[in-house]
């Protein structure tokens, strides 16, 4: 019984970190552009499909798998660059409702295109052989792939945290996030940084898509489910705060997995309850917004 709970907490952490991979980009874009990109989940999905197109259902090796993920990151990043140029730039100063609706429309458009190109069926992809075998940890058989997911999540978090807080480029980003006008006055090339941020955030979504490809079945619907969880993580964690998104993602993942044991009849609902609880007591999130952290 205990091992069941422990296992579900463990899978919760793993799936939480998977959500974080998606939530990170979302939070970043919000911190810098102050917009909530409703299309983010679907671009993550595009990443999964791109990676799938490269490696097929049975990726040969870890290298091929990683390579596909990086390719997915590049492709989606490029799509992000185009999106920024064509759409987001025009919406820079506009009333945020229109930006929200624009990204909503974009999400719909992308979902439709994916369905056209790849069809609506569900496909499962296996992890590369290296990661397929289970590992024995303290008597519990743990799928090696979840370890990979955890590792990836932690690595991405560490990289982002480092990049934003310790590097010079990161400081520039924080400056732009805090006050774009002032940053511009100080000589920072704000438009370029904004374009870079959007591209990077999309690339992150694509990378997440590639890395998480074997984590769940491939279908045009996963964009939406991940997006909703990512939204929640970003809001609970505090808008624009990557550390908050990290904590909140893990929390949500654990809540979700534990609820399959605790409340088996209505598995999907607990996350929403958690969100409701948070929104009522801590409407500004764990770390209230202050630019980008």
């Amino acid at each position: 019984m205990l091992s069941e709970w422990l296992f579900s907490i463990y899978s919760g952490i793993a799936s939480g970190l998977a959500v974080f991979l998606v939530a990170a980009g979302l939070s970043w874009v919000f911190g810098i552009l102050k917009i909530l990109n409703m299309a983010h989940g679907n671009f993550f999905m595009v990443g999964t499909y791109v990676a799938y197109s490269v490696v097929g259902q049975r990726p040969e090796s870890l290298a091929a798998f990683m390579g596909a993920s990086l390719l997915a990151a590049a492709v989606v990043g490029l799509l992000g660059f185009i999106t920024d140029k064509v759409m987001l730039r025009r919406l820079r100063g506009a009333d945020y409702h229109y930006v929200l609706m624009g990204t909503f429309a974009l999400a719909m458009l992308v979902e439709g295109v994916v369905k056209l190109i790849w069809g609506v069926d569900l496909t499962t992809v296996n992890p590369p052989p290296v990661l397929d075998a289970p590992v024995d940890i303290g008597g519990v058989m743990v799928p090696r792939f979840t370890l990979f997911a955890i590792g990836a999540g932690l690595a991405v978090f560490a990289a982002l945290d480092l990049a934003l807080n310790r590097t010079w480029a990161g400081k520039l980003m924080q400056a732009v996030a805090a006050d774009p006008w002032m940053a511009g006055m100080m000589g920072i090339n704000v438009p370029m940084l904004l374009a870079v941020s959007v591209t990077a955030s999309f690339a992150l979504a694509g990378l997440a898509g590639g890395l998480l490809l074997p984590f769940q079945s491939l279908s045009p619907d996963i964009g939406n489910s991940y997006l909703l969880l990512a939204f929640f993580a970003v809001i609970i964690g505090g808008l624009g705060n990557i550390r908050g998104a990290f904590l909140a993602s893990v929390l949500l993942g654990v809540v979700q997995q534990v609820s399959t044991i605790a409340v088996p009849n209505f598995p999907g609902l607990t996350v929403y309850v958690a969100l409701a609880v948070f929104l009522i007591w801590w409407p500004n999130g764990i770390f209230p917004p202050a630019g980008l952290k």
């Binding site: 100063g93 506009a94 229109y98 929200l100 624009g102 979902e111 209505f266 409701a276 009522i280 409407p283």
Partner: protein, 334 residues
């Protein structure tokens, strides 16, 4: 003044043609016309919230589904409630749900929070419906019978498509007229002050939160009634009615027609129906078309068709070529 007369004349002509529709249209077209009426009402309800109160709901399909399922269940399981009452109850349940959401989310009832909240709630509704056996789970309610209304003196048999269509048209016209009155009344004008500057409105003594909840309730009720009219028309209600695509539809219709005008959503719904009809041979393109058009409208003509019309008029009347140039997007408020 001439323009006003022209517009009213055109409107009257459209309504007249619509009433005559059952006689000169084939069943397929009639069905689409009915759907368009329902979508127009749905879009109107959404714009009540957005264009007048300044709140964007991203999960409006939830209210629509509440009305559709409620009505569908009442009719299918023959609860014996007269149809007009069923519709009224559907509206009330929409209002009740909106009220609940409103008082719980009171301070967060705007902006991004409202967007995420409404998306989340419509998802919850979809899940709940998916778990509920008597609502048909994923397959939905099918074989919903069309109602007959017993008015004592006369019985209206709405079983045939033609009869129900006329009822639908009458109901939509009545509701539209009621909304028009509401929007142009002092009540509606107070909403304008809240939308334009909520803090200023507060400082002239307006209880902004109460008004927002009221707007939400009215909008929710109207959307639910639209759903209620939908159920007997299509005779089948599924979780598709709670899908994102359904929530984006009123947004598209409103923006396409023009946000700033009362008739915008209705014009948009009709325009979109025409586009849909024109592209009906391209199967499976629903999301691409809807998403694509909405995106295009936002980027190119955010004030919609009616916005373009009024810009053109400005150019013709005042001879200002500048006024008709690219209408800019509404500015980010404070």
């Amino acid at each position: 003044m001439i323009a006003r007369a022209v517009a009213m004349g055109a409107g009257a002509a459209v309504v007249g043609a619509a009433f005559a529709l059952p006689w000169w249209a084939n069943p397929g077209m009639l069905f689409l016309a009915g759907l368009t009426l329902i979508q127009a009402l749905f879009a109107l309800s959404w714009n009540l919230l957005f264009g007048y109160a300044g709140l964007a709901s991203f999960g409006h399909a939830g209210f629509f589904a509440i009305g559709a399922y409620f009505t569908g269940a009442c009719l299918k399981y023959k609860f014996g409630i007269p149809f007009p009452f069923v519709l009224a109850l559907a509206g009330l349940s929409g209002a009740a749900v909106a009220w609940l959401i409103g008082i719980v989310a009171l301070r967060r009832l705007a902006g991004i929070f409202l967007a995420v909240l409404t998306v989340a709630l419509s998802e919850v509704l979809r899940l709940i419906i998916g778990y509920t056996k008597f609502l048909g789970r994923e397959d939905g309610l099918n074989d919903i019978p069309r109602p007959t209304i017993d008015l004592g003196v006369v019985t209206l048999d709405l079983t045939s498509s033609e009869a129900y269509f006329v009822f639908l048209l009458a109901a939509c016209s009545l509701l539209t007229a009621m909304m028009w009155w509401l929007v142009h009344s002092r009540f509606g004008r107070t909403f304008q002050t809240i939308r334009q500057d909520a803090e200023r409105a507060a400082f002239i003594g307006t209880n902004v939160s109460a008004y927002r909840i009221a707007a939400f309730m009215i909008s929710g009720a109207l959307a639910a009634i639209a759903g209620g009219l939908f159920a007997p028309w299509t005779r089948i209600v599924t979780t598709d009615e709670v899908h994102w695509l359904m929530s984006i539809q009123p947004m598209l219709n409103t923006l396409l027609g023009g946000v700033g005008s009362f008739w915008g959503p209705i014009v948009g719904a009709m325009a979109f129906a025409a586009i849909n009809y024109g592209t009906r041979t391209f199967v499976g393109l629903a999301e691409v078309i809807v998403g694509g058009i909405l995106l295009l409208v936002i980027l190119v003509a955010p004030h919609g068709l009616l916005g373009l019309v009024s810009a053109l008029r400005a150019r013709m009347v005042r001879g200002h070529p500048a006024a008709a140039r690219e209408t800019p997007l509404p500015e980010r408020q404070r």
